[in-house]
């Protein structure tokens, strides 16, 4: 359910009293509603679903998660143990 993808805020404005933004998905630009994340700034990434930013993407957390994945199995490799099999 709920197809939602991260995009970068490139422009923020008010339209008839509603907070709106232009968001960039790798070169695809779309006008979206920013009413639920009114303090987001240009350059930040948001998760967008059906034309609404619903959540801010936390860069530090993303990097931390990726580092945790990279660290998986490192100990095994150092001990010369191959990964488990099924």
């Amino acid at each position: 359910m709920c197809l939602a993808v991260p995009g970068k805020i490139v422009d923020v404005r008010d339209e008839r009293g509603t907070r709106m933004a232009t968001i960039d998905f790798d070169g695809i630009r779309k006008d979206i509603c920013l009413a639920y994340l009114p303090d987001m700034e240009v350059g930040e990434y948001a998760i967008v679903h059906v034309g609404f930013a619903i959540s801010r993407v936390d860069e530090a957390s993303a990097l931390e998660t990726l580092q945790m994945f990279r660290d998986l199995g490192i100990l095994d490799e150092e001990l010369g143990v191959t990964g488990g099999t099924t």
Binding site: M1, C2, L37, I47, H49, F52, I54, L66, F69
Partner: protein, 371 residues
Amino acid sequence: MKYLDEFNDPELAGRLFDEIARVTTRRWAIMEVCGGQTHSIIRNGIDQLLPDRIELIHGPGCPVCVTPLGVIDKALEIASRPDVIFCSFGDMLRVPGSGRDLFQVKSLGGDVRIVYSPLDAVQLAEQHPDRQVVFFAIGFETTAPANAMAVHLAAQRGLTNFSVLVSHVLVPPAISAIASSPVSRVDGFLAAGHVCSVMGTWQYGPLVEQYGLPIVVTGFEPLDVLDGIRRVVVQLEAGEARLENAYARVVSDAGNEPAQRMIDDVFEVCDRQWRGIGMIPASGWRLSSRYAAFDAELRFGVDGIDTPESSVCRAGEVLQGLIKPNECEAFGTTCTPRNPLGATMVSSEGACAAYYQYRRLDTVPVSIGVG
């Protein structure tokens, strides 16, 4: 795309697969609640690469699949009216009601339009003051803020020609219903990351307490799904049941509070029929009475339509994980995406459709024995 490509890395996926294999010593059945996760699992072939001992059960988290037949029939009835512009997300157009779908209504002259966002429907209402514009407001919690905003703006702008046909469903009551079922085999849940990005994680702690099953809030890219599975297995192997958040880059404990406030203003909790599953108490949202003027069911007098569902397919057993889609006699023969017998074959995220699209080569029935 940033934040997607990094979480598709095959090498890191290999590490996660190895880690899952390393920590798994017993058989475990894990349900991914969300159809988006099912899609990712099948599309990437994650289920083929997991240890045999890990079984994934595809949950009922596809809003298109679970929208009840009666609501589809209401939509078809409204969309057939000559004064109506009926707006819908694209994937609802192919869902059959009693004998026809929105495509067929369109072929008979109905003005059915695909929109990307509910705000597009509000804009259409402003552009066509002489027409009635109806938006088909379906979805889980993720979509509710958008649909609620459409109603809120229509009210604020005094639009009298805009209304919504609402059929919202909620994840926690569905998890509750599955976990409390005497025939459930689910040992742990992957909760739907985007639902939690709106609602937060706080609703799930009580479910973990109540049912003693691990719940891990999980994202949608292959590495996210694998990490969700890994965390559930680690808990199960340790005999623990905790709420974990494996999608912390997007999901906070509190969720999106402005969005929750808008939902509280526009919607109220109701019992909801789930297609192929039945009634789940307090599992949906409907328009609150304050916004009754925007209720398409009342405006078009279709609130009396109630289509009973008869039983011809085994989607219920599929949804419970009692059988795999390809173990149903109708699978791929009388039941295909072209001619779906059940809702799970309709949406590309339905368990049966996902299997049909990607797994037809597995003609040998899958063993699902325990032990």
